[in-house]
Symmetry: C2
Subunit: 406 residues, 2 copies
């Protein structure tokens, strides 16, 4: 056989198999209560609606829905997305401001492709979404991690500005700042309104692209909506990433990005070489799902279910986690995740096999850190586990922590 | 706004909007008889079957089909693909040899990503598939074009070996040879059995990866199947790219690649960062489509329809194209395309607007040439135009050529 290793590109040599993915394989066992995945609850999937909609779509527009489509997106889907954006956030966009993607992960890949040359600084939250790190890492990003403030208002703006100042002084070619502002994966934290204003100011002062990755925005269970960065921006500096994965179904792999016309146009060119277009078929189905009002109905259903699960998990943590000044967790107002911090001596990586032995799983916090640190943290998912297993899972985890603290 | 141009990566600066795509926009007019696109005929799409299958899939496995799936592919779809490969070509593969992709274009992108560093030589046929050129171009490939022999047996093996010898002598880091061996896009030519044997020998002698891109293989209208390169290969040097686009429907964006385990494993890692997984939903539908025997039925239906259209186009060319020693066209035994060569003085690029004025469209041959030459050639598609328009289209084209020859 030809020599694979010798022939790989520099990019390919940088790719690592996801450690998380390997860990997740261990959680397949039915006995395990898993807080690890980021999966939506399958009982929220509108299977009957999808069957019925497919029948309608095939009868009405089958020849179009099974054909190649425009790279920018299927016309009726784009129209519904524009209406959705208007209804949900009041933002007015035109078709030239939107590109349909094969879910958010593709958008992250395209952003990396368009902006990252090897060793380019990319600024990210600590912790941040794992899939963002892996997409940008492929292109050789040099990550600069921005810490979170302790008051659960998100990214430290002062720290960010300090880093930007340094980069500018050193004439380093930083290109974008990546944030997950709503019920962040992995922490569940939402960036406060005041901080958003400052983020936008910084994007103008330091002239950078601001990536607003917002897969959970619609899943708010309490409190008031915080204005999207996209809505605050007047300069075309924000690119917003959206997805159907958490509000409809991840198995369709549908996402969309919103941004200024020139950037969207370049993203279209990049997408063309990557997969020509996102399936017309799934876009036609999603368009009809939205047209019927089923998406909003589904969001409302999901909110009720996940809110209940979040509350069960928060109560279980309150009831069973040992009282300790250095053990704390976030209380997210929405989304799918919360984040637990332990005393420094608890290492969630080395503890992982023990947790599996106790039939409970989580994701180690270090997986979400661009520096691979934060080893005394973990992410817990509350959307996927069955309601009546959550307390038992937290009890198992709490008992393990109790043993460690002795 | 932040400065887009200044911030683009080197790769992004290399990307060009497809000239073809812009030209194709001109063919939207209903009056135009278009031989330009590479689209399947929409009347072959099994819309009723898809509606019925979706109902079955949603009822039986909706929770799984709408959920995230494994990057490698949806289990039942992979199983059906393995059976399909066995039935159609007699090749035995295991799940570890296969990766489901978001159609072939994604496979081309992943190959480029894994193997091409800027200025790496990549060897391609002249002409070759446009989407291959654009996928590899993003990564900075330095194309080396291999001419075709005049006898319609495909790529010149002697010419290829000469180029390989030179590259080796200069210690140039060539990585793969890309071929479309069956009813090639754009020429319709099939590489002969003897040449395939020599290709495999060369891949061993010169140690290169051989990319066998074969979207049309199942669409043979006459003559005998030629053994796939994948079947001849004993060393694991061949990676074969397949797609559902021409045998089922392009709107599903489903493809698969077959190759040696190590390479497939690396492709999985690369795909993970790019889109996590191909839609479970479309894979579940395709699996059921295959399980019911509908795919083979569909292939048989498509063969009959396209064969008829090919025959009409060949007869029309025979009847109407001016007799000239330097005007000739290929007679493909399958696929979707044929290739017309004119005397040097005919430039299909400058002629294109005139053709549009005459309400007939084609694709300029230079679009398929890695060197942008071959300006006296064009690609004609016979699968998409309606049967009763083909002769009229060829008449329009022939009249234009007659005027040019005067």
């Amino acid at each position: 056989m030809f020599d694979l290793e010798k022939n790989y590109s520099i990019n390919a040599r940088r790719m690592k198999k996801s450690a998380i993915r390997e860990l997740l394989k261990l959680t397949g066992n039915d006995e395990i209560i898993s807080f690890a995945g980021g999966l939506p609850a399958p009982d929220t999937f509108p299977t009957e609606e999808v069957a019925d909609i497919t029948k309608t779509v095939m009868a009405r527009e089958g020849a179009k829905a099974l054909q190649y489509g425009a790279t920018e997106g299927y016309k009726s889907f784009v129209e519904e997305l524009i209406k959705w954006e208007k209804e949900m956030t009041g933002i007015d966009i035109e078709p030239k401001n939107i590109l349909v993607t094969t879910a958010s992960q593709q958008a992250l890949d395209l952003v990396g492709k368009l902006f990252i040359d090897p060793s380019d600084p990319v600024l990210v939250e600590r912790p941040t979404y794992l899939g963002g790190l892996s997409a940008f890492n492929q292109y050789g990003a040099k990550f600069i991690g921005i810490k979170m403030d302790d008051d659960d208002t998100g990214i430290s703006i002062d720290f960010l500005e300090e880093k930007l100042k340094n980069l500018k002084a050193q004439e380093e070619h930083y290109k974008f700042v990546y944030v997950v502002p709503d019920f962040q994966n992995p922490t569940g934290i939402t960036i406060s309104h005041d901080k958003r204003i400052r983020l936008i100011e910084l994007s103008e002062k330091y002239n950078f692209l601001l990536i607003e990755d917002t897969p959970y925005r619609e899943l708010r269970y309490e409190g008031d909506d915080v204005t999207p960065l996209m809505k605050m921006d007047q300069s075309g500096n924000v690119l917003a990433l959206h997805t159907m994965s958490k509000i409809f179904a991840p198995g369709l792999r549908l996402g969309w990005v919103i941004g200024n016309e020139k950037l969207i146009d370049k993203l279209i060119t990049a997408k063309q070489a990557v997969d020509l277009c996102t399936p017309s078929f799934t876009q036609a189905i999603a368009a009809e799902f939205m047209r019927r009002g089923d998406l909003l109905k589904n969001v409302k259903k999901v909110r009720i279910e996940y809110r209940k699960k979040r509350d069960i998990m928060l109560k279980a943590l309150e009831d069973h986690m040992p009282k300790h000044p250095k053990i704390k967790w976030t209380k997210p107002e929405g989304g799918l995740f919360l984040w637990v911090t332990f005393p420094e001596e608890i290492n969630t990586e080395t503890m992982f096999p023990e947790a599996i032995k106790e039939n409970v799983a989580y994701i180690v916090g270090s997986a979400f850190d661009c520096y691979g640190q934060l080893k005394n943290t973990m992410r817990l998912n509350f959307s996927f586990p069955k309601e009546d297993t959550i307390e038992e899972g937290i009890i198992r985890l709490s008992n393990l922590i109790k043993k460690k603290l002795v």
